[in-house]
Amino acid sequence: MSQLLLILFIGSFLVYLLTRMNWIIGVLANIGLAIYSFYRLFTFKVGTSESIFSLIVNQNGTLVYSELSKFFGIISLIVAISVYFFLINWLEKQKNRAVFNFFLALITASTLGVFFSGDLLTLYIFWEIMLLFSVLLVQMGKEDSKKAALNYLTISLIGSYMYLYAVFMLWNRYGTLVIKDIVQKISVETSIFKWAVLILIAAAGIAKSGIFPLHTWLRTTQGSSPDAFSAILAGQLEKLGAYMLVLTVAVFPSLKMFPVLYGGIPVFNYVLIVLGMISILIGTLMAIKQNDMKMLIAYSTVSNSGYILIGLATMDKIGFAGGLFHAFNHAIASVMIFLSFAAVIYRTKTSKIDEMGGLIWKMPLTFITYLVGIISLAGIPPMSGFISKWMIFVVLVKKGMFLTAAAAFIGSVGSFLYVFRPLAGVFLGQLKSKHKDVKEVPIFMLIPMLVLVVITVFFGVIPGPVLNMITAVEKELNIQPLEHTMTVIKSSVGQWNTLTVFTMFAVGFIIAFILYMVFPKAKRIPLTNQYTAGEFLYNYDLYHYSTRFYAFFERLYEKHPSVEKLYEMFGKFFKDIGEFLNRWFYSASPSAYLLWFSIVLLAIFWVRW
């Protein structure tokens, strides 16, 4: 593994040089690296460990290859490969191509590094490398992205420094950083120490995957980062957060460490579940309001991370599998969605929903990608997204967690609402006159999108391969494995067959198609031939309903409290303090200097003498 990482890190420099020479070769080299590491993932033997450099005395960094790292590695490489393919055409319009490619390669390398890490500090290092370069990539986007990058950096750093704090607490107490040893020691820990440690470690995952108190960066960051990178951000980087959450709830055996409460769930996990619930609600309700399509999907990420967290935190064989599977599905679906958005923005140069419309007539394949993506994201049957949502629903209902279930239901039905908004606003409806000459995107942008469509449909019909990987992970983490066959998913409260559902859907579709063909053919009329209550319209741009699509629903929660505003308040508070300090301590007159001087003198005297 260290060899692979070394190859990737050195290879990324090579990618940089190649891209400087000829950017297409650079992108191809990047794809080559990703495909090579994808191949290598299958050649590694699970359970091998290697030791690498040392940072603290007596503590070598270790790399461990586990089923978990394999699972997440595969997700992130699928995402990476498809996005890199997309870049073959997309990168043409981006400035600083060499740096862009270089950073992408570094991010993939460090992401794999995180998954391979066998000890907490190595994990932190790869984590921070990934963070740094992703921040640098984020700020290469639109004008707002500069501010967004700061936002992203600050919140991610809050998470990762909390994590590092926990790492040192563990190191100080146990003298080791290897996850395996710590797990053994912490599972017999009795004091409040384990609470502190686990909450701090979870903070990193919470910040990265966008769970409630630390979700605010997602909107601006996803909204304004370079379009292709948004896909990486959603599909690859946020799954690091999911990995960290798995680490928190499952690798650290929360079942053994904490007393078990209602529903057989450890008390610590309840804290996470509550956070997940809040994220689902916030993500759903805020996504419904967004007018920028990327920001909309960013909030949907908040909501879906909530699902992943809830699924994982139940620590049940179905729920845990559902969480992992949802991580997989969400990665693929959000990459599809963001790639289709990138394709749209590539042609139309805007991401505002109400500035577009009717693009389905110009970009049908992009539309299909988006459609399949949202069907999977919203969890509607023939696609894979429903399978994981089903698992999570089942476990919530089985354990009788009705409030959480209600949140999950709201999130799930709400997702129909928000995914429909770009569908209606961007792809359907009247074509804007300024987009008359828009063409479908070039072939290399289409290939990865359509391949992802096939993947999503395939795993929606035959989820067996992914479920096999998930059960392997569950076995490794001492959770009872999920019962399933290639197409049947079983739980203690019932089962269902993905293939039957798909077949019946196909049958229904064929019946409808036969009916459609039997009856008289309809005449194709242009979109401008509309029912207008007898009125004549000349500007059909205005005859497209996309501004404030759910205005009547948004009205219900117009005056909602906002964490984002709270954080802004904090920021302003710090700045005010800074202003205060600057005025009263640093820009003051000599008299004031002396005043503070004497105050310190007196204070020390008063306290210490």
Binding site: N529, Y531, G534, E535, F536, L537, Y538
Partner: protein, 179 residues
Amino acid sequence: MSYERTIWEKIADNLRSRSMWMLHYCTGCGAVELPPSMTSRFDMERLGMGPMATPRQADIFLITGYLSVKTLRRVIYTYEQMPDPKYVVGFGSCTINGGIYYDSYATINRVDYYIPVDLYIAGCMPRPEAIFEAFTELMRMIRKGEAIGWKKYKENYEWYKQNQLKSLGEVYVHDEFHE
């Protein structure tokens, strides 16, 4: 005035006569008499008839009242949006000869110069009894294949268009204030 129909078309016409969905074009005062014919006293629904919201769904185009140059344009527009087969019923005297507004510069005196009218209901206004009489007649015509205004419109499209243009005049400026 009937034409050759296949057996399927005969069945379809039978069905059409039992399920007539109307679109009202209510410019004049004639629509006053429609509510009584729909509500409990006369109950139009027992014949399978009912009002529809858009021309796409409607079978019968009910023009209730006089047409001016401005409204004729809309009537033609709406008529062309209706799916075939479609039937037009002129409701009240105004559609036949302009009614009491016959001498106005802006009134369209005969609707069937511009769109084919299958049936007129005379009267100012026609009472519900008259309306029902007319609709049962229309049902009979449809069943027999005699209500062929929509075919005539297709066949004589040039003539209708010419009449329409003559009355409406050439349109020079295309925006929402003209035409």
